[in-house]
């Protein structure tokens, strides 16, 4: 009998290497290929307003950050309420270079991919340092330790002249093979750049999760005593988890700095940390595609609620004050509802739909 790689039935493996694949059927792989193709091609056919392109870019930056947060909070089970500060570390790495070398230095404008990696590495170093309390602390106590980093970060930026006391430090436009990226191309250019980063990071994380470097994260989440008996140092594994999250956060921060062509502390506050956490929860903790779905859902919700409150403000002038409170209200409500009714997030809906389609028309 020959192997049928297209469907789940008749799809069998004869070696352990074959079984390591990410996409079990060719159907899955083709669907993924088509999705990626669509994501890369649609800007050629649909011209979106800069305003909407910025929203999309914003979602993509959040996806990179939440991917990092999902590694430390979802997979390694360590609650981090300082994730925006790590993103800030990445952004301020770019800002520091701009301050020291001048914003038009060739390293910043031409070697920007390198700068993004450097920002990621600085983020990883800070992640590792902030993760050090994980050697001794657990659960909520550790969460408070990460909160303290958020506070220290904001204070440091606000009170140092070098960082312009939290006011915007500008970053110049970058240069691509076609020359300097102009104002009209800016958002489309960064759409492609960030999408590229997401594809790379997504596959890197997926690969990591099927090796010892990913499994050890889940091991310390589920049972760190047993992890110890299996030969891994639970403390260092946690520090490593923070470093990994710090790296992706740093990359997200650098992308943010380039996208907005400037860095200000108001983009990296506690509020943003909690938003990231909400995105991870709504998307689905401990799943990779949750990191994509969460930011998308929360940011789109934000957008719709903003529209609604604007409409209410225009038509019911008496309720204007109430309308402004709609955004934080809906945000909080969504988190509470998800924690109550779907703690496994949107990723679980995806799982249910998938298994339903697979078995259709049978029930089980």
């Amino acid at each position: 009998m020959s192997v049928n790689r297209w469907l789940a039935t008749g799809n069998y493996f004869t070696s352990y290497k074959e079984e390591q694949r990410i996409f079990f059927t060719s159907l899955d792989r083709s669907a993924m290929g088509l999705l990626l193709l669509g994501l890369f091609l649609w800007p050629l056919f649909i011209q979106l307003d800069n305003k909407y392109m910025l929203v999309i870019d914003n979602i993509l930056v959040a996806v990179v950050a939440v991917m990092g947060l999902n590694l430390v909070t979802g997979f390694a089970g360590l609650i981090s309420i300082g994730h925006a500060a790590f993103v800030g570390v990445g952004a301020y790495t770019i800002a520091s270079f701009a301050r020291v070398m001048g914003e038009n230095h060739i390293l910043l404008t031409h070697a920007w991919p390198l700068m993004i990696v450097v920002a990621g590495c600085i983020g990883a170093i800070f992640g590792g340092i902030v993760g050090l309390p994980a050697l001794r602390l657990k659960h909520l106590y550790l969460a408070i330790a990460t909160l303290s980093f958020q506070m220290i970060f904001q204070w440091t930026i606000n009170f140092m002249d070098f960082f312009n006391q939290g006011q915007t430090i500008s970053v110049s436009r970058v240069t691509w093979v076609t020359g300097q990226v102009s104002r009209s191309q800016h958002y489309t250019f960064w759409y492609y750049a960030i999408l590229g980063v997401i594809v790379l990071a997504g596959f890197a994380v997926r690969n990591l999760l099927r090796t010892r470097y990913g499994r050890c994260l889940v091991a310390v989440r589920d049972n760190d005593r047993a992890a110890d008996a299996m030969g891994m140092h639970p403390g260092f594994t946690k520090v490593y988890a923070f470093a990994l999250a710090g790296f992706l956060a740093g990359v997200a921060g650098a992308l943010h700095a380039y996208l907005y062509r400037g860095v200000g502390v108001e983009s990296f506050t506690l509020h943003h940390s909690i938003s990231f956490l909400a995105m991870a929860i709504v998307g689905g903790l401990g799943t990779l595609h949750g990191s994509f779905l969460g930011p998308l859902a929360i940011k789109l919700l934000d957008l719709q609620v903003e529209r609604l409150s604007e409409w209410v403000g225009n038509h019911l002038t008496i309720a204007t004050n109430l309308a402004t409170a709609l955004k934080p209200l809906s945000f909080g409500l969504v988190i509470v509802l998800f924690l109550m009714f779907e703690p496994r997030g949107i990723a679980n809906w995806w799982r249910i739909v998938r298994s339903y389609v697979k078995l259709w028309p049978f029930k089980y």
Binding site: S15, Y16, K17, E19, Q20, A204, N207, L208, R210, T211, R212, Y213, G214, R215, C216, V218, A219, R221, D222, N223, R225, A226, A227, D228, A229, M230, G231, M232, H233, G286
Partner: protein, 253 residues
């Protein structure tokens, strides 16, 4: 073959002596049982050997290694593996991943290999998968390979616990009540596994168990603890006739 020597070990929690001057010598290739009433210090002794506790006084040696102050992850690399009494599995992972985690130290590729995956990481993962399959085969876990551990029945989880310790490829296996809460059939299975381990894999087994029938049947050596003190040791028939042991288990009239 290496001996495990526990000499004059005392373990104190505050004012309480969990273990007092315990001397044990585990001979290689044998099944040694440690028995005693509840709270006698059996699990404390295993915790000392596997590095979760460090003795207040005394010394534990395994061949050329000194285990007295070694941490659990160091000890796991010295050829000693341990299965826990209360299930301490990674509940959010499949049986396969649980066992592959025990191969952690054998998967020697760098994080960059892991990110690229193709090549070195893939090859080493496949090699270790083959070892894991050997253990799955031995412990008869084939139907549960891809199942999430948290969803399995208690008896199967216990078997996964033993299998995970086996996957570390130890010479000395510490089993902490592997048969607790099992029915007769499941107990018979585990006993068969333990006997096969000794015979086919040449493993040294240390067994902590409450079921005296099983202990008397399969042990080569028995040590009896009571209130942290060693009150008897020797072959099963010697221990069974030891008046101190009878006293501890049945009490005076």
């Amino acid at each position: 073959m290496t001996h495990l020597i526990v000499s004059e070990v005392t373990l104190t929690f505050g004012g309480l002596n969990a273990l007092t001057g315990v001397n044990i010598a585990i001979e290689p290739g044998l099944i040694t049982s440690i028995i005693g009433p509840n709270g006698a210090g059996k699990t404390s002794l295993l915790n000392c050997v596997s590095g979760f506790y460090h003795p207040t006084l005394g010394e534990i040696r395994y061949g050329k290694y000194n285990l007295t102050h070694a941490s659990p992850h160091r000890i796991s690399t010295m050829g000693i593996a341990r299965a826990f009494q209360n299930l301490e599995l990674f509940r959010g992972l499949s049986v396969l991943d649980n066992l592959l985690l025990a191969r952690h130290k054998h998967l020697n590729y760098s994080i960059f290999h892991a990110i690229i995956y193709f090549g070195k990481a893939s090859r080493i993962e496949a090699e270790n998968r083959a070892y894991v399959e050997k253990v799955i085969d031995f412990m008869e876990l084939e139907p549960y390979r891809k199942k999430m551990v948290g969803n399995l029945s208690y008896g199967v989880q216990k078997r996964v616990e033993v299998a995970r310790a086996l996957t570390l490829a130890p010479q000395l296996l510490l089993l902490d009540e592997p048969m607790a809460g099992m029915n007769i059939e499941e107990k018979e299975d585990i006993v068969r596994f333990i006997l096969d381990l000794k015979k086919e894999w040449g493993m040294t087994v240390v067994l902590v168990e409450h079921d005296l029938g099983v202990v008397m049947d399969i042990s080569d050596r028995i040590y009896v603890l009571d209130f942290g003190v060693l009150i008897g040791w020797g072959k099963p028939e010697e221990v069974a006739t030891n008046p101190k042991v009878i006293d501890a288990y049945i009490g005076e009239e």
